[in-house]
Amino acid sequence: MSAPQPQRSTVPILLYDGGCATCRRIAGWVERSAARGPGAPGIVQRPVGNDPAALRQLNPGLDIWDAYAVSHVIMPDGSMKLGGEAVAEVLRCLPRTRRLASLLDLSLFGVRPFQVTLNLAYAVLDDVRPLFGCESCGRPKPWVRPFERLTGWVKAWAGTAPRVQAAPHFRHLAGRDTLRR
């Protein structure tokens, strides 16, 4: 049996977590911003969903667990951009941010300082997401855990502390906006 041929899009595809309210807002902003330019949108977005086989149609190396964990942009040639590189690609595709994104390509002695900064910012923001109440992020990285305790104290002091979580490796369903995407 031959392997299924990957689906190709003529524009980059931004994958986002359809169960995450923040991610949906960002995807909505990208969609509106892309529609402002002349002609067809320069980028499309689609939720990661729950079908591993459908994702592998976009790129045989695309793993659904990875797709939820890190921002992915699938390029028309089938290659993937991840994390800060994916953010940069989104910025390149939007009419309003295209010029800003050109800064990311500036190279000094073989290093792209703005892109490196963006990658670093993405990595830090990704690590600290659990501090902002991200339900799907899992356990914070070890370096973030002291801050988690700190924000816990602040929330407790402000009276907005969430209920005590008995199992630290458990994602409660209560409070989620939707179960079925």
């Binding site: 995450c20 190396g61 667990w65 939820y68 992020c137 490796h169 994602r171």
Partner: protein, 147 residues
């Protein structure tokens, strides 16, 4: 939701980020992770759940999970390893609660990951959010059958 692997069954994707740790065959590498060749855990829908879990013989463990859950992601490579270790004695399945909310409601799943063990179609025990360690996952999956 499209499940193309067969009627009621879906071989989900290879576990990621764990290939070298588990000694699996590494198929490909991306900038972020390594990917492995095998997934020993079948994903069930309502129909196959009734057939293979409620109607299935022998010890069975079911992980209620979702792909968007970071804890499930952390536990996935360990669960794959445990499932391979015990496959001669026990079968491990998974149910994606995003796809099967009715099953999740029926079994009063309060979050993910939740491990429920069954024997002859009867629920024996459940463990919510075990540590992502082999010992904890092994206990969650085999505990009621070994004690």
């Amino acid at each position: 939701m499209c499940h193309q692997a067969g009627p009621g069954l879906d071989r989900s994707p290879p576990a990621m980020g764990c290939g070298n740790a588990l000694g699996d065959t590494v198929l490909m590498e991306t900038a972020m992770t390594t990917k492995t060749a095998h997934d020993t855990i079948q994903t069930l829908n309502g129909q196959s759940f009734a057939q293979l879990v409620l109607g299935g013989p022998g010890p069975i463990a079911v992980e209620f999970m979702s792909y968007g859950c970071g804890y499930c992601r952390a536990i996935e490579p360990i669960l794959q390893q445990v499932a391979r270790l015990i496959e001669a004695d026990e079968t491990v399945f998974r149910v994606n609660i995003e796809v099967e909310p009715d099953l999740a409601a029926q079994y009063r799943i309060g979050g993910t990951p939740t491990f429920v063990t069954f024997l002859d179609g009867r629920e024996l025990s459940r463990v919510e959010g075990p540590d992502p360690s082999e010992a904890a996952v092994m206990q969650a999956v085999t505990g009621p059958f070994t004690s």
